[in-house]
């Protein structure tokens, strides 16, 4: 029972097909309460279908989906916020009215919805536009409004499908800060994105899908370790040091990357011992044990899957 309560979302062997085409095959994963969970995968991987299944917009062919430990009830739906990839707002409606309506649909009483909307608009310095029609706002503002519409009812679980797409760097940062703030306040966030840099920075754990199948699942740090090439990046104060390093035994390969050099130690060589040896032979300015980025793992995984 305790374990179930720890999970905001659980998928158990969930499959879904459209017109006899498998969109999701036997997917199992869980999202822990209070974490930022990344949902990664190329276009057509089944991410949006998975989100729609989670929100009970569509039903699975088989398998079980539990949200907050139970099957999704209308009341539980009110505890979820959703920013779809396909953005949409009522263009001809006044900003405040639209936010109030969307909050009301999440079970917030009208007066409270109005207060929430006004306070959120104020926090993003948009309160002077509250009586404007949505179509009168700039694209950047509309994107911020879209984000507000997903959090206006203070959801416990927030699903963000490509939240950074189309955002300029300033707004990307604003949204990232918001997301981190929400996690700090105990909210659970599911982040579906193509932007691996943001996913790597923000996510605690990830699920990577490809063609409806689960290809990677787990904590970001562990996945990066698992996919580590076991290489070291070093930099020296003087160019001549490189020759001295070539003399060190236990290094099977050296690749020069301009200023820095990547060293590949032989199996069983201790990084600690290697560091000591390097310090003796050269004037080191940088020594780093590297892990591949999520982006590299993403590309590598997709390539290996397509080669199978």
């Amino acid at each position: 029972m305790y374990l179930i309560l720890m999970h905001a979302v659980e998928f158990e062997n969930v499959s879904k097909s459209f017109s006899e085409k498998n969109i999701l095959e036997n997917i199992s994963f869980s999202v822990r309460q209070g974490e930022i969970f990344g949902l990664l995968g190329p276009n057509g991987a089944g991410k949006t279908t998975l989100i729609r299944l989670l929100l009970d917009i569509i039903r699975p062919d088989s398998g079980e989906i539990r949200v907050f430990g139970d099957f999704l009830s209308p009341a539980a739906k009110n505890r979820i916020g959703y920013l779809p990839e396909e953005r949409g707002l009522y263009k001809k409606t006044r900003l405040l009215d639209m936010l109030v309506y969307l909050a009301q649909l999440k079970g917030i009483p009208e007066n409270q919805a109005r207060l929430n909307a006004e306070s959120l608009l104020k926090s993003l310095e948009l309160d002077q536009y509250k009586n404007k029609k949505v179509e009168e706002l700039s694209k950047g503002m509309q994107q911020k409004i879209q984000f507000l519409s997903a959090i206006i009812h203070e959801p416990e679980l927030l699903i963000l499908d490509e939240p950074f797409s189309g955002l300029d760097p300033v707004n990307t940062k604003t949204v990232m800060v918001r997301i981190l703030g929400l996690r700090a306040s105990g909210k659970t966030i599911i982040l579906s994105t193509h932007m691996m840099e943001q996913a790597q920075t923000l996510c605690d754990r990830i699920l990577m899908l490809n063609k409806g199948r689960r290809v990677l699942y787990g904590p970001v740090d562990e996945i990066r370790k698992e996919h580590g090439k076991n290489s070291l990046i070093v930099e020296f104060a003087e160019k001549g040091n490189l020759n001295a390093i070539r003399e060190i035994s236990g290094i099977k390969k050296i690749i020069e990357h301009g200023k820095s050099v990547e060293l590949f130690p032989e199996e069983g060589i201790s990084v600690q011992l290697l560091l000591e040896e390097l310090v003796r032979k050269a004037n080191l300015t940088r020594f780093e044990k590297t892990f591949p980025s999520l982006n590299e793992i993403f590309i590598e995984t997709l390539e290996s899957v397509s080669n199978e």
């Binding site: 929100l55 209308p74 396909e86 969307l102 079970g107």
Partner: protein, 417 residues
């Protein structure tokens, strides 16, 4: 607390307030009453009547045999039924034509009459009025002069009742003979009420059904096109959206009908004293509700399946054309309301609301036919709501190319399992 009706109500209220603020709605709702008012008031205005305007008319009686009253109250055509406004025509006698002419040019009188010496032989009275002034303003004088002439010629020579009969020779009353032979008197107003108003009501219903279900189609297509539908579906079920939209826009339609009927009652009561029978109103209401549910659900289904507003309107046009068939065959229904084709149109669910109400306006439709028509419409409403609900659930989130009919049918059947 069950949140189902609550969210349906929120959707309904949103649709209602959003729609009544639309320019199209305001135009449609207030254009018709204005048009109606224009039609009923314009003829009275065209007849040149200005009931409140009194006038002075000079006369020169060359026969010296007429007794003109000092003034007469004119109750000719007037606007307003509750209190008939009258104007006063004051007669001013002149001995010489030149004096009358001068008075006319000075604006002391609006016109003058000359009764020639040979009036008894010719029956001609000459009326002189200023150039460019609508001669119609003197139109009313004709009947008043007839009265004066008759009175002058016959008073004292025949009794009062003969005099009255000569003044007002024929007064037609309309009677209807019922099946059991009883007769009932019908006034012009009754004839208009039983014949014109149901047809007018049928027209108004049709327009209201079309405009309200058109708003629904537009709303669904727009929400699908601008993708907000996905946010809505994360909060409410497709059934809640569908029900909320139908209720909200149904209320819009009822409000519109209410405004129109109020305008008809007010407008017709103003120009022609008529009253709408509760019987007609009851059936008008039943046909409106069922007709609206039928079309609105159909439009919701079309809006869900099609990819854009433009495409949805093209598809909806086919059904709208079918529904407008009674208008095309209106003459046939009016002249031959009992013909098999008229009966068919009043039973077929797409056309029955307007066709049946029109038939009811011109003939006594057997109650069995009315009940069968309502029953067929009820069944059709049920089937269309069921199908549209399924289309709504299946296609709301499918963007891009419109699915083929075969595919839609397959999905409807899959959903039912």
């Amino acid at each position: 607390m069950n949140s189902f009706p609550e969210k349906t109500f929120i959707v309904a209220r949103h649709e209602f307030t959003k729609t009544i603020k639309r320019k199209e709605f305001l135009f449609m709702t207030f254009f018709f009453p204005l048009l109606f008012a224009g039609i009923s008031i314009l003829p009275a205005m065209l007849s040149g009547m200005n009931p409140a305007e009194d006038q002075k008319v000079g006369y020169i009686d060359l026969t010296e045999s007429f007794e003109f009253p000092k003034s007469i109250q004119n109750e000719g055509l007037s606007i307003g039924s509750s209190e008939t406004k009258t104007s006063v025509i004051e007669f001013v006698m002149y001995r010489e034509i030149s004096n009358a002419k001068q008075a006319l040019q000075a604006g002391q009188i609006s016109s003058y009459l000359v009764i020639p010496e040979d009036f008894l032989k010719t029956g001609t009275i000459e009326l002189y009025s200023p150039e460019k002034e609508a001669s119609m303003s003197n139109f009313e004088l004709s009947s008043e002069l007839s009265d004066i002439v008759i009175t002058s010629l016959l008073e004292g020579k025949v009794d009062e009742s003969t005099l009255n009969r000569v003044r007002n020779p024929v007064n037609i009353k309309f009677y209807n003979i019922g099946k059991s032979g009883e007769s009932s008197e019908r006034s012009i107003a009754d004839i208009f009420a039983s014949f014109g108003l149901p047809i007018l009501t049928a027209f108004l219903l049709l327009f209201s059904i079309f405009s309200s279900s058109g708003f629904l189609l537009r709303g669904v297509a727009e929400e699908k096109e601008n993708r907000i539908i996905e946010i809505l579906l994360s909060s409410v079920t497709p059934t809640e959206i569908l029900t909320g939209k139908i209720l909200g826009l149904g209320a819009v339609g009822l409000l519109q009908i209410g405004i129109w009927l109020a305008a008809v009652v007010f407008g017709s009561g103003y120009a022609l004293p008529v009253k709408i029978e509760p019987y007609t109103l009851l059936f008008a209401l039943i046909y409106f509700v069922l007709g609206f549910l039928f079309f609105a659900s159909m439009m919701a289904g079309i809006g869900a399946v099609t990819g854009s507003l433009q495409e949805s309107q093209q598809v909806a046009g086919i059904f709208t054309f079918a529904a407008a068939l009674p208008l095309i065959f209106m003459q046939l229904i009016l002249t031959n309301p009992g013909s098999p084709f008229s009966v068919f149109l009043s039973l077929f669910p797409l056309t029955s609301p307007i066709a049946m109400l029109t038939r009811m306006g011109v003939t006594a439709v057997p109650i069995s036919q009315i009940l069968v028509s309502i029953f067929i419409l009820l069944i059709s409403v049920y089937v269309v709501i069921l199908l549209s609900g399924r289309l709504f659930r299946t296609y709301l989130l499918m963007y891009g190319k419109r699915p083929k009919v075969k595919e839609i049918w397959k999905n409807i059947r899959t959903e039912s399992r």
